[in-house]
Symmetry: C2
Subunit: 339 residues, 2 copies
């Protein structure tokens, strides 16, 4: 599979030029703009070879070449050099992470999402930290009136979850307090997704007379686990539609409709990253969902504390400025993990 140096240079030039202009690239253009020291004819021959090998393709006979999916893959894996971010850009990223120390995770994520999209001119997708993978921190029950209370569940990642619950009439203030402190003690340090099984076995045994009440607590936890995955934050939706590949209304609609379905997005951001560290790039049909098969997704997991809790991604057309996007993403994730 070894490409000659010259083929690499040409492939690289085609990708760069096509990314910039969105127009099929001709041999003359490459010879002129990238001064390779060969005539267009030579480049034509090489390009014909590259097409033969499926790195390039021609929209129609008398047009220039554009990179194929395989071409992008090769470029991304072997040829591209990650961009060095301008100091200015780095500063912008650092600022949102340091501006105020005590900040809601959600606010932070929203800001990061905004910023990434404006730095890249693509759309950013962030899968927020869910309860599932977080460790239990604290639980509190706040009585509202005779019958109802508010259950507040806090994870070490800063995520929290509230739920209205019914309190058994019989429960007195001090009983409630004891119950809460007991639960806190027992659940301390556990990962949320380990709690369900544990709860049933142990707590039921110890708390016969409060079973009815715990049923609700239990339901909350279950529901949290189910809803959990679908907290997706989008930024710069309009950006991606400014790309010329979205001149077609149907494509826009199909993407917008996808953007409304957060559970699908969550999947898109979760599945490919299972067990993988670092930044990964999914090009075109490498993505699971049909709606983004003309797009590329650059993404990575991020941690809050020790545990991996979510995914950050940037979605653009396959004709994407990969070197820059990777650089921005890396910078953001680095900052994230410093928290």
């Amino acid at each position: 599979m070894g490409l000659s140096t010259r083929k690499m240079e040409i492939l690289s030039a085609v990708v760069k030029d096509y990314v910039k202009t969105a127009q099929p690239v001709g041999s003359r253009t490459i010879a002129r703009r990238y001064k390779m020291g060969f005539s267009p004819a030579t480049i034509r021959n090489e390009m014909a070879d590259l097409e033969e090998m499926n790195y390039l393709l021609q929209p129609h006979t008398s047009a220039g070449r554009i990179p194929s999916q395989k071409g992008y893959r090769y470029y991304v894996d072997e040829l591209m050099q990650e961009e060095r971010l301008a100091e200015e850009d780095k500063r912008l990223i650092c600022r949102i992470f340091s501006y105020e120390k005590i900040q809601e995770v959600e606010t932070l994520i929203r800001q990061a999402s905004q910023l990434m999209s404006s730095l890249t001119n693509y759309t950013s997708l962030i899968l927020g930290p869910g309860l599932k993978k977080s460790a239990f921190k604290k639980l509190q029950i706040m009585p509202i009136d005779r019958q109802r209370g508010l259950l507040v569940l806090l994870a070490d990642t800063g995520v929290m979850k509230n739920k209205l619950i019914n309190l058994p009439q019989a429960l007195s203030q001090s009983e409630l307090a004891r119950l809460v402190s007991y639960l806190n003690q027992r659940l301390e340090g556990l990962t949320i997704d380990k709690i369900t099984a544990q709860l049933i076995r142990e707590l039921r045994r110890d708390l016969y007379h409060h079973i009815n009440f715990l049923e609700t607590t239990f339901t909350l936890l279950e529901e949290s686990l189910a809803e959990d995955e679908s907290r997706v934050f989008l930024g710069g939706i309009t950006n991606i539609f400014n790309q010329p590949e979205f001149g077609n209304i149907e494509k826009i609609k199909s993407l917008i409709s996808l953007f409304e379905q957060h559970s699908l997005l969550a999947n898109l951001l979760t599945r490919p990253l299972a067990g993988i560290e670092g930044i990964i790039i999914k090009i075109g049909r490498e993505n699971i969902l049909e709606e983004v098969q003309e797009c590329s997704l650059v993404m990575t997991t991020y941690c809050l504390g020790k545990e991996v809790v979510g995914t950050i991604g940037i979605l653009g057309p396959t004709r994407m400025e990969y070197p820059r996007v990777v650089a921005v993403l890396r910078q953001v994730v680095d900052q994230f993990e410093k928290l």
Copy 2:
């Protein structure tokens, strides 16, 4: 300004037909489809009059007529009859309000928003209940570790707000408990937007030595008031783009970009309703924002408890099925207010 009965019938026919077909309506079509007992020529004369009076307009000389903004206004105010919803539709609406009694306000709103958009095929906008107009219900501080606590603020509308705060080292468990119960007692029943001023004057006096701590509480309240208005829920974004008036990509982009700016949407949903009860309809340029000047917005405020807390609206093209939209909206709001 009195239109003859015949002119009314013709205007009404033009609106109905144009809403259905999205094509300019000709005199022949009206004569045929709406059997008015007059020849096309007569209708042509009447239509010429209506155009003269600015109720109708002609895209170009040899085309049929379409309603002008003034035409829609007259139709909506004088001619249209609210649709009777099918039992089936009513049932769908009732179901989400009764399905589970104890439900998060947010979940409910999301569901309502989904449903409204699918029942109308337009986009629904709901301005969620904010803290501002709600009455204070309960406040709790949940210690997390030595330095930090989680402040939970609950309003009678079911809205809640969390905020991380720094706790002064000096504060003991029991002191904290006393403080919380004191605050609860003092703030009970107040509307949130009345708290700010009150807090400063009275609480400061009584709680010299905790001022530092209260500063943060106070900050939370202030921030809540500021962020507050921008909780907007959108449903069925894609729907509105299926309308033929959005054949133009620029229009789509401009709307999408508006949909991302929740503070603008909040304004759109708040300003026109100040002091007004019932359903109001803003047609085309009657709307504040430029992006929706070819759209109509049917909206009304809703209450949770006694206080008006938010707005529900449906956004479609000016060429909108007003009778149906009004009916759906009314049904949803009625259900809302039964809570």
